[in-house]
């Protein structure tokens, strides 16, 4: 899987400066506890307790989800006996395993590692216990259930361990159709291949940034008609197929149980006809490009016959939206987001040239919006790494410069950058693939 060049560069740079890579290589002295071909465990020089051990892969992975499955299985398989050895070596029985993901949680190193801390009565480390604070999180249940099931199902399918899911209990989502092995192994495209559809802000402003779907092939949810409507609005390819080529869509449905389930009970031909009418009524041509986030931004650039994003869906100008709505809108537009974060000047130049952009920003304070969005992005995900352009989206007239993330203040620690990607929506999609 080809990662974005900028990310690779970043990683190379990070590795070159990584203390723990040097410890693994023996360039920095350490007190080794355990070592094999893939992992190393050394004493922490700032121990919470005598025998406090750091455990790491030899290869440099900035964050836990980036560890490939085989390495992951080895590292955390060995963790079990290693924790016993650490405890025994420290003349105790108990051992705390402590993992921090992200600086807020206490991750200090861009080389993912974790702590094994021998424990004993009265060691003063009670603060490592997770407090019970009576927080009610029943709201979280459904989201967690759906997503955890989906990612695990995908992972287990891909590692040939799907049988682990057969607990015969209610957990295995009844709605889940059986997965054919071959299908599930298909790599998922990144979220960035998503066409930056023309604004649908009015129709689906609250399209939940919150419900992530980490797995490319999770169990299909049952959609209400209303949800189906929104789903279609949100998915320009499907909409375009419905409008332009319902027969092809039916072909796809026939071959695809999950998608079929989503459209269960829906007359695709009629729905297509209705949409076509609606579309024509808006005076918009139903033809557009399929692959193209870029096209969506460069307003009128219809390309081949591929199915695609409807161009002229109602565009609500920024001045009529609240800030959160603007954020939500920009979040759904990889190109626009990219420009806002990395190349505001370029964006400002582009606005007068681009019909949709100029309509969107009409009578608005562009600088203020950009600034507010940058702050929003910083607050939600850590600024950068918010956008990673995919290979596919290379719009005409847009130089490849964004590949290298322009305007990056070099010095600013590279780590922030990678860590920032945690918060990015696309990350969970990628995680599904990374874990294989």
């Amino acid at each position: 899987m080809a990662d974005e060049p900028s990310q690779e560069e970043l990683l190379a740079q990070q590795k070159a400066n990584c203390i723990f890579c040097k410890i693994v290589a023996g360039e920095i002295p350490s007190k080794s506890v355990y070592e094999d071909e893939r992992m190393a465990a050394v004493l922490d020089i700032n121990p919470a307790a005598k025998g406090h051990t750091l455990v790491m892969t030899k290869e440099h992975y900035p964050i836990m989800p980036l560890i490939p499955p085989e390495e992951f299985a080895h590292l955390f398989g060995k963790t079990a006996p290693l924790s016993g050895a650490v405890a025994a070596g420290a003349l105790t029985k108990r051992c705390t395993t402590f993992i921090a993901n992200g600086a807020v949680a206490g991750q200090q190193s861009p080389h993912f590692l974790f702590h094994l801390i021998p424990r004993e009565q009265g060691d003063g480390l009670d603060k490592l216990s997770v407090p019970a604070r009576g927080v009610n999180q029943s709201d979280l249940a459904e989201m967690m259930r759906r997503n955890l099931y989906a990612v695990m199902r995908q992972h287990l399918t891909q590692t040939g361990k799907l049988s682990l899911l057969q607990t015969g209990s209610a957990m295995t989502e009844p709605a889940a159709p059986p997965v054919e092995e071959g299908q599930a192994a298909t790599p998922a495209p990144t979220a960035q291949t998503a066409p930056a559809a023309p604004p649908e802000a009015a129709q689906a402003p609250q399209a939940a940034p919150v419900t992530p779907a980490p797995a490319p092939r999770p169990a299909a949810p049952r959609l209400s008609l209303d949800q189906l409507g929104r789903a279609i609005e949100e998915n320009p390819e499907i909409k375009a197929l419905l409008i332009n080529n319902p027969a092809k869509l039916q072909g796809i449905l026939a071959a695809n149980p999950e998608l079929r389930q989503i459209f269960a009970g829906v007359d695709v031909e009629r729905l297509g006809a209705a949409l076509r009418q609606q579309h024509l009524a808006k005076g918009a041509p139903a033809t557009t490009t399929g692959e193209g986030p870029p096209a969506a931004m460069s307003a009128q650039a219809p390309t081949q016959e591929a199915p695609a994003a409807p161009k002229e869906a109602a565009l609500v100008p920024a001045r009529e939206l609240t800030l959160p709505q603007i954020f939500a809108f920009v979040d759904r537009k990889p190109r626009l987001k990219q420009l806002m974060l990395y190349d505001p000047e370029g964006l400002k130049r582009l606005i007068p040239e681009n019909e949709r952009l100029s309509r969107f920003f009409e009578q608005s304070n562009v600088n203020a919006i950009i600034q507010a969005y940058q702050e929003h992005a910083k607050a939600t995900h850590g600024v950068r790494a918010t956008v990673e352009p995919s290979d596919k989206e290379e719009p005409e007239g847009e130089p490849a410069k964004r590949r290298t993330s322009p305007n990056r203040e070099q010095a600013e620690d590279a780590w922030d950058e990678v860590r920032g990607s945690w918060g990015h929506k696309a990350d969970l999609d990628r995680i599904g693939r990374l874990f294989r």
Binding site: K31, V33, P47, A48, G51, M64, F76, K78, L82, G84, A85, G89, K93, C95, T96, T97, N101, V104, A105, Q107, I117, A132, V135, Q137, L140, M144, R145, N147, A150, V151, M152, T159, G160, K161, L164, A185, T186, A188, P189, A191, T193, A208, V210, T211, P212, A213, P214, A215, R217, P218, P221, L223, A231, N235, I238, I252, E258, I262, G423, D427
Partner: protein, 158 residues
Amino acid sequence: MMVYEDTLVTAELPEDAATNGHVIVRPRRAVVRLSELPEEESAHLFLVASYAAAILFQGVQAEGTNIIINEDEERLTAHVVARRSDDGLDFRWEPLKLDEAAMKDVAERLHDKAFALGAQGKEAPKEPTAPEEKPEPSALDEAEAEENYLIQQLIRLP
């Protein structure tokens, strides 16, 4: 509230959570110590915990996550906790001052105990039993990938 289970582990939301975004993952095998788990089950426990953590990042806008096993409960429990800068949680410890001799001594003792892992490590090669069975992507797969994308987008909806 149970949110996931398979033949090796269960994951639930604790009644009395530490924060909005607290998942506990337990092995089905009734053990107290992590070291009592077979390697495969240990790896699986952390896998589920790691996925739960990844979902918390997005699902409850966590800025970080901790995965903590303290071995101080009746059943071995991995706590996955969403973290935010203002969450009032604090798991940081004060480092001990140990002199070189003490460090060296403890390192040797740990190394002696852990050394045996290397011998068991012979099983390691068989560890990745299934992982690499996915077929090479073909043209057919690409067509499917396109469909997968559609589904992925649909599922993104609330």
